[in-house]
Amino acid sequence: MTIKTTLLAMAVSTFALTGVAQADNIKIGFNVPLTGFAAADGKSALNGAELAVEQVNAKGGINGNMLELVVYDDQASPKEAVPIAQKLIEKDGVVLGISGSYSGSTRAAAGIFQEASIPYIAAYAIHPDITRAGDHVFRTAFVGEVQGRAGAKLIGEMLGKKRVVIITLKNDFGKSLAAGFKEAAAKFGIEVVSEYEYSIKDRQFGPIVSKVKSDKPDAIYASGYFFTAGPLVSQLRSAGIEVPIIGQEGYDSQKFIEIAGAASDGILITTSLDRDSSVAETKDFISAFEAKAGHKVDMVAASAHTAVHVAAAALAKAGGMDSAKLRDAIAATNLLTSIGTISFNALGEVQKDVQVQVVKDGNWHHHSVISDAALLAPPVK
């Protein structure tokens, strides 16, 4: 009887405590793939977002209220993302949502957040339609086209390579990168010799490698994620193809270097995180992330970390949880983050510099920065 009463009392007090604590917390929704094929990126994104929440809360939260991340696994699947977005808005009552997920699920969730007039920030999903969902949707990553144009400048102007083969990952990420690259190619004197496509499930590129070899290009522009790009780069190099290979933020992980091994040396990518940055925000982020996650930092972690900081800064500025004020505060963002100073254009697309990183001695390092505002202008509609 005594035990029962004690337990009951404990249960009641725990409930009361959490009840009180939750009333004061500011809830941010976070959909992220924690199982399925995108689980690796999801795990990094979650670590990045959690780190940002910890950093904000360690500094006293938002006007004394603690941030709380409400996390759901969307398996990078649109059909999971829709009920999750509804649950976050209706059941959890989040003040805003952040996507730590891929384009398919982010696009599906964006419409739901827009309809409910709750702000939604895509951390690294790149499909152009995401921000077109409406004025409450923002993105802290480049759309594919912008990064593709940066790739063209890097190859045609900065490296001076003109005969280029494009190897495209056949999904919205790879396709929009290729589109941006081809759009700007002529401007930098690039001749696209040929273009090959592969599916996200491919890990063996033997036929493409053989054909690229016979094309004898000056450089290769290849889109992909670390798990496709690692095998691809390694197979290109082991077939004796020595020309520069240029990738993008999908490569941006230590895993890429592990998979490609020695073949990764000298690979260039356009991305958003500068490993050798002297900016305090970036340096702190890199060391804190590595301490928390136990592995090297990657682009998705930095993007999720940035999205949470954008949300936190807007919450502080809006001075409350009013959705309209919060939206306006996000739209007016001008913030120094772990990926540099960012702001949003009228469509909610991020405006920032492109970082070029290069693999040297088994690590990503600074190569150069592309800060050509006209070239990097994101779409406005």
Binding site: T35, G36, F37, A39, A40, G42, K43, K170, Y196, E197, Y198, S199, K201, D202, R203, Q204, G206, P207, I208, V209, S210, K211, K213, S214, F227, G230, P231, S234, S238, A239, G240, K255, E258, I259, A260, G261, H295
Partner: protein
């Protein structure tokens, strides 16, 4: 020259397909079960291969360990998942198999982590230079020669060993074989052991080719191996081998010349449909 290279790439890929699909066709021939979870054993083989190589530095040991461990796991899959369902219609076992496969992907993710694994020092990373700058990688030579040797030895044993004869008798007529004193249970265990060990070896080889294993590594193998055994003529071993090689070569050329129209994976099924329209029993299947 390009055609030669593409053909060789196709044969490398076809050898991998053959090793994977053979286990599947063995199970189908014996039990009439579509063993989708076979691809999960292929993934497990890849993981064991990378882990053992990284720990001991010996690729040979890794291949042997992967084959034996995964072979035993394959026997356990039969004992625990399929044997209790043998009296049920075959689709019940198929559902169990699909469930097992999905669960295994998540299990690998939980055990080995979501990021996948690579060899710390990639074995067999060299190559020989053949002609006109054409390179054949050691790994590719290993893939082709291992599948040729393994499949020839198995073919010989099935014709000339007691166990092989018992196995063929059981496939042809289980009750008659039993009446002649063949222990059907042992034949089934052996069948699962060999089929799973082959998948494990394929897993180690794919891990070598890509320097990467990941939880979802079996997802393509799961349905493509099904397409191959249907293409070959369900249960026909020679048909399976032929289909595996043909598909490897067709994919190799298709990736380059049809890549803009049709996905590499869709190619397998387009080819499958074409063949089935002409030969509903598959390439070498019995009518």
């Amino acid at each position: 020259m390009l055609y030669v290279e593409l053909t060789i790439q196709g044969i490398v890929q076809g050898s991998i397909y053959a090793l994977i699909a053979l286990g599947l066709t063995l199970v189908y021939g014996l039990l009439r079960i579509l063993h989708v979870a076979h691809a999960a054993l292929f993934t497990l083989g890849g993981y064991i291969g990378v882990i053992v190589t990284n720990q001991t530095g010996s690729l040979t040991l890794a291949i042997v360990a992967a084959a034996i461990i995964v072979g035993l796991v394959g026997m356990a899959v039969y004992k625990l998942a399929y044997e209790p369902l043998l009296s049920q219609p075959p689709y019940i076992a198929l559902i169990a198999s699909i469930a097992l496969f999905i669960a295994s992907e998540e299990l690998y993710r939980i055990i080995f982590g979501p990021y996948g694994l690579s060899y710390t020092v990639q074995p067999m990373s060299g190559h020989i230079e053949l002609f006109d700058g054409f390179r054949l990688k050691y790994v590719e030579i290993l893939v082709i020669s291992m599948s040729v040797v393994i499949l020839s030895v198995l073919g010989y044993l099935s014709l000339h060993s007691r166990m092989g004869i018992a196995w063929r008798a059981t496939v042809t007529d289980p009750s008659m074989a039993q009446a002649f004193g063949v222990n059907i249970q042992n034949v089934r265990y052996l069948n699962f052991f060999i089929g799973s060990a082959l998948a494990a070896i394929a897993g180690v080889l794919v891990a070598l080719l890509n320097n990467f294993v990941e939880p979802t590594m079996g997802s393509v193998a799961s349905y493509k191996a099904l397409a191959i055994i249907v293409l070959g003529g369900l249960g026909s071993i020679r048909g399976t081998l032929l289909a595996a090689m043909l598909l490897g070569v067709i994919e190799s050329f298709g990736t380059i010349y049809l890549g803009h129209l049709i996905d590499r994976d869709a190619l397998a099924f387009a080819f499958l449909i074409l063949v089935l329209m002409v030969r509903p029993q598959g390439l070498l299947g019995a009518k």
